[in-house]
Amino acid sequence: MARKYLALMRLSWGLSLEYRAEGFIWLMTNLFNVIMLLVWLSISQAGPVNGFSSADFVAYYMIGLIVRQLTAAWSSWELSFAISEGRLSPQLLRPIHPIHQEITVNWSEKVLRMILLLPIVVAVLILTPGVSLHVTPASLLAFAISVAGAWAIYFLADYCVGILAFWTTQATAFSNVLYGLKIVLGGILAPIQMFPPAIQSLLEWLPFKYMLAFSSEIALGQATGERLLFGLAAQWAWVLALWLLMRGLWRLGIRSYGAVGA
């Protein structure tokens, strides 16, 4: 498996280098985070909002930028087009599940994005007075595990949406809704602590906060001890559930798949 991945990685890395100019488009998606940050800064001028000072908002949204870029996934588009145009057939003949190709494409894009994004984020964090991050070996490890989990949740959920293309021609509409839910409930529009308490406790059990906000909370030292362990457990339970769902949907989908022109 490792050798197969290495071969796929090399292929995908070549592809991302070829289309690096397209990187400009994703840079623009960052602007949404920055706009939300500016609005929260205008609100927090009068004083801290639910425990968030202006510096906390800066730290939250800067870490959020990194998490968002590391966990972005868009394979549902590729998959749904491949299904509806019949291009999936040759991929099915390979000795490896098509999801692995998508995973390596996703990873190699990220390397490129981080090279561009990290210096900016680090500069802003250093230049903003009053920013405090929670950095210990344990918290760094927890942060890394949570980002991996966040990536897996969104990637798998998005892939499930793509699989829906076996039955409907409107799969991309669903992926749009999934993206919107991540924006609102995942902590991009507002940190989860800004929601009413009842909604906050509901979000503990839903997958959306574990797509993004949870990792930022770890970096800011807001999720520690029991909260941290509960979060990690809930997050990886969702990873497992979505993985099982993906496998089940895929099996059903393949059974009903009759390629165009076959």
């Binding site: 100019a21 609100i43 009068a46 909002v49 409907t168 021609t169 409107q170 919107g180 507002a190």
Partner: protein, 261 residues
């Protein structure tokens, strides 16, 4: 008159095409409702922590949100589909089929297609504006409505001109899609009063990428809080940008020599 008739024909043709894809229409309409909901919930979260944002109360800001949704729908319905096709036609050389028609080429190229399902956003946006006025217990006077009509027309002219300049750049540049994407990202600021932003950013949103003239200032005119200077500035901005875009298009077409030659 001839152009009005032609435009009606264009609309009809696009509508007939879309009737073929009814499932798509239904799915897109749902997505529109969903995103309008996202914007409203977002505003609810922001305003649960503050009385005003940029000096606007929640009910007043709803007018801005309505106009933001409406103009977003307008862009998606009329501008985006045509601009994408113009860029494509310049690349492939098929723009020749537009240029050889016996009508104004900018008219034909920029209004031929429309994406009817995005009109749902325009309806939702208009609905939100009306809802905001009801919540405020406010009925605009006829003079206010006349001012609003002018501001809205200017907003339409401004976005149209910006998109046409972007499309025209495709005669020389290849990656113009990125600029359209950039506009869409900056447009997201339009769901907030421009006064939310400070310093250089506010200046840029007023004069460089004039989002303020597209949502905030027209919303002010609905509420009857428009001063004469802003009204005049909007007219100057609208007419000026439209003239620039038309001249730019004419210059581009004149120096254009198709793709294959």
């Amino acid at each position: 008159m001839r152009y009005v008739r032609l435009f009606a024909l264009f609309l009809k043709a696009s509508f007939l095409v879309e009737l073929e894809y009814r499932a798509n229409f239904a799915a897109r309409a749902m997505v529109s409702v969903f995103w309008a909901g996202v914007t409203l919930v977002g505003a609810g979260v922001f305003f649960s922590h503050t009385e005003t944002i940029g000096g606007w109360t929640f009910n007043e800001a709803l007018v801005i949100i309505g106009l933001f949704t409406f103009m977003g729908g307008f862009i998606q319905t009329f501008l985006q589909p045509n601009v994408q096709r113009i860029i494509e036609m310049i690349r492939l050389g098929t723009l020749d089929f537009v240029l050889t028609r016996p009508i104004n080429s900018q008219f034909m190229a920029s209004l031929r297609y429309s994406q009817m399902f995005s009109m749902v956003d325009m309806l939702l946006g208009a609905g939100i504006v009306v809802w905001a006025c009801i919540r405020l217990g406010y009925a605009p006077a006829p003079v206010t409505l006349a001012q609003f009509a002018i501001m809205l027309s200017m907003a339409v002219l401004i976005v149209y001109s910006i998109w046409m300049v972007i499309a025209t750049l495709a005669f020389w540049l290849v990656k113009v899609n990125n600029m359209a994407e950039l506009f869409n990202s900056v447009y997201d600021t339009g769901r907030f009063p421009v006064t939310t932003f400070q310093g250089l950013i506010r200046l840029a949103l007023t004069f460089i990428i004039p989002i303020a003239f597209i949502t905030t200032f027209p919303a002010q005119s609905v509420l009857g809080r428009l001063d004469a200077t802003t009204l005049l500035a909007a007219v100057a901005m609208g007419v000026g940008l439209f003239t620039v875009s038309a001249l730019f298009w004419r210059h581009a077409v004149r120096s254009y020599s198709s793709a294959s030659s």
